[in-house]
Structures are given as C-alpha cells and as structure tokens.
C-alpha cells in the first residue's frame, strides 16, 4: 500500500504556522512569569507561612496536580461564565496555564526553600534583616538556583500542554494546524509539521531558560552550594 504525503500543501501555509508558534510562545512567556511568581509565593506559604495559609495552599496544589489540564481549562472557560465571569479564550488559557504551573512550581520552589541551611537564615537574621529581606535576598535566589532544572522542565511541560488551548479556540499553534488540515484535508502532514515545530520550540525554550536563569533570575548568586 502506498501512502502519499504532501508536505508542500501544509508548508505553503507558513504564515499561519508562524503566527501560531509566536502566539504559543507569547502565551507561555506570560504564563511562565506569572506562574513561577505564584509558585514562589505558594512555596513560601507552604514552607514558612501561617498554618491556615499552608492548608489552603496545600488544597490548591493537590487539587490541581491531581486533575487534568484540559478539565481545568474547560472549567474556567465553560464553567465560570455561569457565575457571570465571561472570559475570552486567550485570557482563559493564560489563567488555566498560570493556575496549573503555579501548583507544580509551588512544590518545586518549596523543595528549594526547604533545602536552605538553617545557619544561613540565622546569619541573615543576626544582621538585623527583616523577614522579607531574609526570604528575598538570602533564601530565594539560591533556592531557585537549586531547583532551576526542574522549574525549566515544568515550564516546557506547560508550553506543550498549551496545545490543548486550541480546543477553546485560542489561536495558538495547534489551532492553526487544525485549521490548515480542515482546509486542505492534509491532516497527517499538518500535525507532523506542527509536532516538529513544538519539538523545536521545546528545545529552544529549554536552552533559553537554562541560559536565562543564571544570567538574570538568580545571577548574582554563586553557583552550587
């Protein structure tokens, strides 16, 4: 049996693929910044926060980590409007991705925060630093440095997960792959091309984050322990 593949018909739509890829990256960038921020806040709450806050964050983390992203997305996009909260697909996608990443990032950040040697914290307190200063200047940067590889992987996972956002008509890469195949009926080729672009994006994103972390995010901290 001969299977004929025609990639030309798909690649001819490159402006749409490019637009989709750019949108996927933009969606990921916004979600990553907000999601890691939320994760660090929750990580702080779980490691250092008051008991009631610890419990609340614990419930959030467990709920999100034990339910599929697509259900979270559908709940936000289809479910919330019945409470009067109407969202466009892009905003719903960002919220779902931030909420999702936040829960995983919280666990990762907590692991880093809890790995801080007690002596360092006591030393910082003895210099009359405020609690906020101790956390932001002494604990957080090396904690992030320690867990950055895991954080990077999680951000890549969320980027790949964003393919689902096409299902609520957010105009990212998989949405356009779907659109192209519905026009020229080259479904297999269309999804192969989109998958290859996702693979390239994930490699690119991982490299970028590996470079970005030491350079900007925890840069002034000496590496290692």
């Amino acid at each position: 049996m001969v299977v004929s593949l025609d990639f030309g018909a798909v690649l001819a739509e490159w402006p749409q693929l490019l637009r989709g890829a750019a949108f996927t990256l933009g969606l990921t960038a916004v979600s990553a910044v907000l999601g890691v921020g939320l994760g660090v806040a929750c990580g702080w709450a779980r490691a250092w926060g008051p008991a009631w806050l610890r419990a609340v964050v614990g419930v959030y983390v467990e709920l999100i980590r034990n339910t599929p992203f697509i259900v979270q997305l559908f709940f936000i996009f289809f479910g919330l409007p019945s409470l009067g909260v109407k969202l466009n697909p892009e905003i719903a996608s960002v919220i779902a991705m931030v909420v999702n990443l936040g829960a995983y990032a919280a666990e990762i950040a907590r692991a880093g925060i809890e790995g801080t040697p007690r002596g360092q914290i006591e030393a910082a307190r003895s210099l009359a630093m405020t609690e906020a200063q101790v956390f932001l200047r002494v604990v957080l940067p090396p904690a992030l440095a320690r867990v950055w590889p895991a954080m990077t992987s999680q951000i890549v996972i969320v980027m790949l997960g964003s393919a689902v956002c096409g299902q609520i008509a957010a105009q990212e890469l998989s949405y356009f792959a779907n659109l192209i195949q519905s026009r020229n009926f080259r479904a297999f080729e269309s999804f192969i091309v989109a998958t290859a672009i996702y693979l390239a994006l994930s490699i690119l994103l991982r490299q970028t984050l590996n470079w970005l972390g030491p350079k900007w995010i925890f840069g002034r901290v000496p590496q290692g322990r």
């Binding site: 339910t67 709940f75 790949l160 999804f191 989109a194 998958t195």
Partner: protein, 216 residues
C-alpha cells in the same frame, strides 16, 4: 428538555469513568511492556540502541500529547479505513507512557551502585542472570514510587482522548454539559472524579517514597 438532577449527572459521569480507568490500565500495562523492552535493549548495549532510545524518549517528551494523539488518529487512518478512537488513543498513550517509563526506569537502574554490576560480572553471570538476580530486584524497589506516581500522569493524559472523540470522563462531561446547560456543576464533578482517582495514587506514591527514604 429533560431535567437532570445532580445524581443523574454524577451517575452518567461514573459510567464514563470506567473507560478512563480502562484506557489508563491499557496504556500503563502496554507502555510498561514497551518500556521494559526498550530499557533492556539499551542496557544490553546493542548497536545504536543508546541513540535510538534517547531520540525516542526526546520525541515523546518534547511534543504535546495532544499532537501525538492526532498523529496516531490520522496516521492510522492513512492505512486502515475507519479508525476507532479508542484504538488511536490506546496506541498514542501506550507510546507516550513507554517513553516516560523508559526514562524513569533507566534512572533507577543507574541508581544501583556500579559495584553490583562488577560483582555480578566477577561471578561470571551473563547479562540476563545479572538483570534477573542482581540489578532487577534492586532497581525494582527504587522504581516503585516514581512508577506509581507516573500512573497519575497517565490517568490525566487519558483526558485528552476526549478530543479525538473517545467517550471517557471528560468527553462525557462535555456531552452532559450540552444536554444540561450546567457547565459549572458538570466540570466540577468531572474534576472531582479525576481527583478521587488520582489523589489516592499520589498519596500512595508519596508514602512509598517516604518509607524507602527511612530504610536507607
């Protein structure tokens, strides 16, 4: 319009959850078998196996599961005529699971001290004897918590099969929503059901991890 009570919604979702469980089991068992094969090929140091298997793992870990599902669905359609959604879903999820389990188990085998390999070699054990009597049992103990933990990822992964039309928990939720116009309640119930499936497994995996740490 038919009036759906909360119990009707819940009961219908519960019926559909059977398919989520079944698909998860198929993917987990199938993926486990494929992963075991890949791992052995890699450990036996067959020519090209190292690069081949790591490219395979890279491919499945670096692309969206949703795209893998679409590729399985439309790729099979190129050869056969009518692909049932459950077949495409089972195939894609099996391959996806196998890539992750290969990587997890490789780490576990690597965690067995090198001296164990050397000791087995010094006793003139063959590769299969070494695996069966020395490395296997030790790696298996280390592998148990992360493997159980990964089962949660597989269960959550099956939710995407809804997109290619397989009627499992998520798809049933969408269909019930269309009939009842109660998206908030329905998706909350769907999420709750996934949680009830996944959370005990997460907790079990964590407990295993803790008990292993204490022993060491």
């Amino acid at each position: 319009m038919v009036d759906f009570s909360l119990w009707d919604i819940f009961r219908n979702l519960l019926m559909a959850a059977r398919w989520t469980v079944l698909l998860s089991l198929v993917a987990f068992v199938g993926g486990g078998l494929v992963a075991l094969g890949l791992l052995l090929v890699r450990l036996a140091k067959l020519r090209g196996a190292q690069t081949g298997v790591s490219a395979y793992v890279q491919l499945f870990q670096g692309t969206p599961l949703l795209m893998q599902l679409f590729l399985a669905y439309f790729g099979l359609a190129l050869f056969g005529i009518n692909v049932p959604a459950w077949l495409a879903a089972a195939l894609a999820l099996t391959l996806y699971t196998s890539a992750f389990l290969t990587e997890i188990w490789r780490g576990c085998v690597n965690a067995v001290p090198k001296g164990q390999w050397e000791a087995a070699a010094s006793l003139a054990m063959s590769f299969s004897e070494t695996m069966r009597h020395v490395i296997g049992p030790q790696a298996l103990r280390i592998a148990l918590p992360p493997t159980v933990g990964f089962l949660v990822q597989v269960i959550k992964g099956t939710a995407l099969a809804s997109v290619i039309g397989f009627i499992e928990l998520t798809k049933a939720g969408t269909m019930i929503t269309n009939a009842t116009f109660k998206p908030f309640t329905v998706y909350a119930c769907v999420a709750l059901m996934y949680f009830l499936l996944c959370w005990p497994i997460s907790a079990w995996s964590r407990r295993l991890e803790r008990s292993f740490k204490r022993e060491r």
